[in-house]
Amino acid sequence: MEAIVQIGFFVVLLAIGWFAGRANEKRHFRELAEVEASLRDILVFNERRPPPEREFRSGTLVVGSVVIAEDYFKRIAAGLRSLVGGRLTAYESLLDRGRREAIVRMKQEARRVGATMIFNVRLETSSLSEDRSGRAPMFSAEFIAYGTALVPAGRP
């Protein structure tokens, strides 16, 4: 019967979303931990005033951005959760990944210009899903981290 085929298809997609999605996430979080460790010497603050007693050669805008999309499992879990209300834990890991990746990329750009500190950091998240006709679109969000990278005077 057609209904059984539809349900079977749905379960298969859900399983793919779960296994592939979880594997993907785990890998990303592990990579994030490693890269964050290597970039730990670049300091990040969202204050406006750079340290007054230090000399800086230049300050440039640095931006890190990434777009991350949900997997099928997250989507269904979120749909269920929206029925009853409450915290959407399925998306928390997605948002955390996105933000951390954006900050990492911003730091990498700062590293490229030789900076040791980034000030006035701002974080933005925007949802990108368009309203296609019919089914609800796949959720994806763009994460941006931007700030002013300060290159210390005395560096070549």
Binding site: L43, V44, F45, E47, V84, R87, I103, L123
Partner: protein, 104 residues
């Protein structure tokens, strides 16, 4: 934990700057309230249930940010900013971030 949107905590001096801390949460109202809010679209005005939802979310986001600040040993957070974004499934994410500092 002192919270301020200023660069400094008025009347105190910052002794240590401990970097970015952030707290975020994603919440959704249940389908019934969603439907009622949809009906309200006809008459306009404040969507009380959504206001309440986002208030709860913002408070939780602040709590999480404070938890991160405490974990790094701060006693104040300066330059706090908020950011809200819409998550497709009828939910909203509220993020609060600032710089954790130690003031004396």
């Amino acid at each position: 934990m002192e919270l301020t949107t200023l660069e400094t905590v008025p009347g105190k001096t910052i002794t240590r700057h401990l970097g970015l801390v952030q707290g975020s949460t994603v919440r959704s109202k249940h389908a019934g309230k969603d439907f009622l809010a949809g009906l309200k679209n006809f008459v306009g005005g404040e969507l009380k249930s959504y206001t309440a939802l986002l208030n709860e979310s913002r408070n939780e986001a602040i709590e999480r940010m404070v938890a991160q600040a405490k974990a790094v040993g701060a006693n104040a957070i300066v330059n706090i900013r908020f950011s809200t974004s819409n998550i497709a499934a009828g939910a909203a994410e509220v993020m609060a971030y600032g710089t954790a500092v130690v003031v004396g």
